[in-house]
């Protein structure tokens, strides 16, 4: 019964990640690549994402401190972050990246700073939820495959 309860918890967390718009179809695509030979594939991908993200967020922080702002560099960095976020299906983070890039194109420094703060919040929330999800999934046993949200 404990196992069943654990699996239900895992399923519920995953359901909410999609329902609340944190993740999109790309995450399911990654799960479909997971098998017995690659049992931790998704978590490995997400761990690479965290590594990429930490580096890019740090670079963005430093670049936003400069005066005047280098909008081209900011756009390039955020383009990379958007790419990584798309690769794991991080829907909300991706949306904030898009907004940030629009502010870059408009040369709107204040907009960039506001959007960056929001993006960091979305990233932190997603990261926390995914860490909980993977921790519970490990405790529950082999991950369920290909849950498709309605």
């Amino acid at each position: 019964m404990d196992k069943i309860h654990s699996h239900r918890q895992v399923a519920a967390i995953k359901h909410s990640l999609f329902d609340q718009g944190y993740l999109d179809e790309q995450f399911i695509q990654l799960e479909e690549l997971q098998d017995d030979a690659n049992p931790n594939f998704v978590e490995e991908i997400v761990t690479l994402y965290y590594r990429d993200s930490s580096r890019l967020i740090s670079n963005l922080d430093h670049t936003l401190e400069r005066n005047p702002l280098d909008f081209n560099k900011l756009d390039t960095l955020m383009h990379q972050f958007k790419g990584s976020s798309s690769s794991i299906g991080a829907k909300r983070v991706k949306a904030e990246c898009t907004l940030f890039r629009e502010y870059c194109r408009a040369r709107n420094g204040e907009g960039c700073r506001r959007s960056f703060q929001q993006m960091k919040k979305e990233y932190a929330t997603l990261r926390k939820k995914l860490e909980t999800y993977f921790q519970l999934a490990r405790q529950a046993g082999p991950l369920e495959t290909a849950y498709r949200p309605k």
């Binding site: 790309q26 695509q29 479909e32 690549l33 991908i45 690479l48 590594r51 690769s87 290909a146």
Partner: protein, 134 residues
């Protein structure tokens, strides 16, 4: 069955400087039986061909250090490399995609690559290929 059988006959080169994308593309290719190697920029892609290696399929990222995807594709075509070269990038502007295509690509897909896009690439390589729906 048909998808995996054709895939096992294909070799691929993943050209991307990002570890996350490399891993996803490699796993995608493996899932259909495609043997593959990875290089981290356009220069390495050219170098591996200079050393005599050949691949049926090359997944080419656009933005890379040292040598980008556009330059690498032009270089490979000038060497007479006839592989299927598919540009894979997160660049959206039409002008940039067109520039990438004009460098010698056979096809272009926006990142992230997924099973459906890979199936369409394999279908282009072998029109007799049909994917199995999961």
């Amino acid at each position: 069955m048909a998808r995996r059988n054709f895939g096992t006959q294909v070799t691929a080169l993943v050209v991307d400087d990002n570890a996350l994308n490399q891993k996803i593309h490699q796993r995608l290719l493996e899932s259909v039986g495609v043997r593959n190697e990875v290089v981290t920029n356009g220069k390495e892609a050219v170098d591996i061909h200079c050393h005599g290696k050949r691949f049926d399929l090359i997944l080419m990222d656009m933005d890379m250090p040292i040598m980008n995807g556009i330059q690498a594709t032009k270089e490979l075509r000038s060497m007479g490399i006839g592989s299927m070269i598919v540009g894979v990038s997160s660049r959206c502007p039409e002008t940039e995609i067109r520039k990438f295509m004009e460098s010698g690509l056979n096809d272009y897909h926006e990142k992230p690559l997924n099973t459906a896009k890979l199936n369409s690439i394999l279908h282009k390589m072998n029109p007799n290929f049909t994917s199995n729906n999961k």
